[in-house]
């Protein structure tokens, strides 16, 4: 590789970001771990993994974890596919501006309006789904409605940055659209897909706000999420339980993200990066 002589140059480039990020994110990240192995929020006696085992035994946590995983496993892939397909359609059909704006707008809407509307449609006076077994459906719907635009923006930028020569070349080769999609466009999109996946995971935490405004701290057990547990633990001053549950959850997410990262690296090798 030709860049090797300048091995420390890169550090200079990331330095401003690294300093700020280190102080504001990395230190708190490890600071949180300290709480998770303390006896209580206001008693820093070391108790090793007691809080972790306590949290694992807790019924509410189990329900929350189950619901959150269920929600994420269903809604994240669905959202990614939907937003990718819509982005492709908009790009290929050169859709009018109004279409793009309509799909993007929900991300700009404050939680209160969403709640106002969905409460009327799915709440007590409407279909009354939010109190039923199928409450999760409403949550997934709100999530997809709210976040398609977010991913769409990223995908549209990705599409416009695409190397069109490669695509044109494949057209000459006689590949049909779906072959092109499968062998050229989607592989080219790996880094962006990885980013979209990360962002969607982050945004999936934010659905808590909408559920909270719909149903408060203790919603229908079908949509009781980990964020509810975390939020309530914060209000109850049990920071040790909060942090340990969050780290358990983050570990699970991290496994997924690590797989994404490996995918990303593989892609880089294929396009000849480092």
């Amino acid at each position: 590789m030709i860049f090797e002589s300048k091995k420390y140059k890169g550090l200079l480039f990331i330095l401003p970001s690294l300093i700020g990020f280190g102080i504001l994110y990395v230190i708190p990240f490890f600071g949180g771990i300290k709480y998770s192995v303390s006896k209580s929020s206001f008693n820093s006696t070391f108790v090793a993994f007691n809080n972790y085992t306590d949290v694992f035994k807790n019924n509410a946590f189990k329900i929350a974890l189950k619901n959150t995983c269920f929600f994420m496993i269903i809604s994240i892939p669905v959202l990614i596919v939907i937003s990718f397909v819509i982005a492709l359609m908009i790009y290929e059909l050169k859709a009018p501006k109004i279409v793009k704006l309509s799909i993007m707008l929900p991300i700009a809407v404050p939680s209160g309006t969403v709640v106002g509307f969905f409460k009327k449609v799915f709440g007590f006076n409407g279909f009354n789904l939010i109190d039923s077994e199928y409450a999760m459906l409403v949550v997934i719907l709100i999530f997809i409605w709210k976040n398609t635009g977010y991913n769409l923006i990223i995908y549209l930028a990705g599409l416009s940055q695409m190397d069109k020569e490669v695509i044109e070349a494949s057209m000459i080769d006689g590949a049909n659209y779906f072959q092109r999609l499968q062998y050229i466009i989607i592989p080219l999109f790996t880094p962006i897909n990885v980013f979209v996946a990360i962002v969607t995971i982050i945004n999936s935490f934010k659905i808590f706000k909408d559920i909270y405004m719909l149903q408060g701290s203790y919603p229908n057990p079908k949509i009781y999420m980990l964020q509810h547990y975390i939020n309530n633990k914060f209000n109850d001053l049990q920071y040790e339980k909060l942090t340990s549950s969050a780290y358990i959850f983050s570990l699970m997410i991290f496994v997924v993200v690590f797989l994404l990262f490996i995918l990303d690296k593989k892609h880089a090798k294929r396009v000849g990066g480092n």
């Binding site: 209580s40 007590f124 633990k233 049990q238």
Partner: protein, 443 residues
């Protein structure tokens, strides 16, 4: 070129940060040595004139600044979040103010509060029933007594109940009252019909951490309530749905609430109401005495013994700054003269928690010609407090009362339903609620 760019970058960062730092403050302003901070929710502290007066005096006499950190929050939940964050501070707020409607027990149970026993001189003068783990410092108390319409009792030809009255007696009077003519349905009636019977059932078992809701007893309360509410005894707006009732009971800004208030004793319907929606602090004889005389009211201790008594006061933050000064501040608030002042303030602030000034209070009562009946009531309540029968349960045992409130709000949906539930459907709905509460209890 490269170096220049990086330089520009760094300068721009510095500038950006610089222009947003509203004020660069000196060392002394960040950690003040002569200051205590009191945290309150919005401006609750303004409810207590005695506190405001005392703060001015304290600042003048000692030269120590008392800073009130009134956290303005959109919801109480937001306030709790903010307050909790401040508590993790190494040198956080000194004192936290809790009004009568707030629960302090979780702060004490989780080790936020300092144990003040032996550290505040006047603490031993407080009625024992009002203390909690020697960590809560009550300043004033309120006993919400029940007000009955004496004129109406006479009209109905009923005997006046005495202080030891029972639920049975009350129901008897009420039956007579309802027979007379249809009455407006409101939250007082709802409480009598639904809330009180439910509270008497043992739904929550805190030790075993179990809520049992889906059973015959609860179902019977619901069915019985529906029968009673939708009978000829009450004037009901037939268009009202569950949401309307919810607003009428709990949404204090809504038209429905105001409308129901108007129908209540405040305005047109005043003479026809048996039990008033809002009680009165039975300990403040200067107020109760005039009320009894002027408006011909009957003021009695509550039938539900556990929820009458409330206190307001402070917690000393273990991690707070200048906690010693904070405790000195509280000591002064508990002193005989400040406490006595509280008795004189007729409206707000509660009744003194200092038990050593009872004689002085009696003297004031004599001077003001307080009626015998009012004094008797005060003494009766104090006796119960001293005996440990009346306690601020609502604030100490927050789990139970939080649960009850949640339950009542949720059950409204089942009671004011458009279509009547079958037995099976009712079971299903109750089971759903039961699951929800079990999550809450086991969190």
């Amino acid at each position: 070129m490269k170096k220049l760019l990086i330089l520009v970058l760094i300068i721009s960062i510095v500038l950006m940060i610089g222009c947003t730092v509203e004020n660069i403050v000196s060392n002394s302003e960040i950690h003040k040595h002569n200051e205590i901070t009191i945290v309150t929710y919005n401006d609750t502290y303004k409810k207590y004139p005695v506190l405001q007066g005392y703060i001015d005096k304290f600042q003048l006499e000692t030269g120590i600044k008392v800073k009130i950190d009134a956290i303005e929050a959109n919801t109480y939940d937001d306030y709790i979040k903010k307050l909790n964050t401040k508590l993790y501070f190494k040198k956080g707020p000194t004192l936290i103010l809790f009004s009568e409607s707030e629960n302090y027990s979780k702060y004490i149970d989780n080790g936020v509060a300092l144990n003040v026993k032996g550290r505040i001189n006047n603490y031993k003068k407080i009625y024992n029933s009002l203390k909690y783990k020697d960590s809560f410092v009550p300043i004033g108390m309120t006993y919400v007594a029940t007000i009955l319409n004496k004129n109406l009792l006479e009209e109905l030809g009923m005997k006046e109940p005495n202080f030891n009255w029972t639920n049975k007696e009350y129901l008897h009077i009420k039956k007579k009252w309802l027979e007379e003519e249809p009455r407006y349905f409101n939250i007082t009636e709802y409480k009598d019909i639904v809330v009180n019977p439910l509270n008497r059932l043992e739904i929550i078992d805190k030790d075993k951490k179990i809520v049992t809701l889906n059973n015959l007893k609860v179902k019977n309360v619901i069915k019985d309530a529906q029968k009673k509410i939708f009978s000829d005894n009450y004037i009901i707006n037939s268009k009202y749905s569950y949401m309307d009732y919810y607003e009428m009971f709990f949404d204090y800004d809504s038209d429905k609430y105001l409308k129901s208030m108007r129908k209540d004793y405040h305005y047109e319907n005043r003479n026809k109401v048996l039990k008033y929606r809002f009680g009165i602090n039975g300990l403040k004889t200067l107020v109760t005495s005039t009320k009894m005389k002027k408006e011909n009211l009957l003021i009695l201790p509550r039938i539900d013994k556990d929820i009458g008594l409330k206190t307001w006061g402070f917690i000393v933050n273990k991690n707070g700054k200048n906690v010693e000064i904070g405790m000195k501040f509280l000591d002064g608030l508990l002193s005989d003269e400040v406490q006595l002042l509280m008795f004189n303030f007729s409206t707000y602030g509660g009744y003194p928690v200092n038990k050593n000034i009872e004689d002085k209070i009696s003297k004031i009562e004599r001077k003001n010609n307080v009626s015998k009946k009012a004094i008797e009531l005060r003494k009766y309540i104090l006796k119960k407090i001293k005996a440990g029968i009346y306690k601020p349960y609502r604030q100490i045992d927050s789990v139970k009362y939080e649960f009850q409130l949640m339950l009542h709000k949720d059950l409204m949906k089942l009671i004011f339903t458009d279509k009547l539930y079958t037995d099976e459907e009712l079971s299903m709905e109750l089971q759903k609620l039961e699951n929800k509460y079990n999550i809450w209890l086991n969190e």
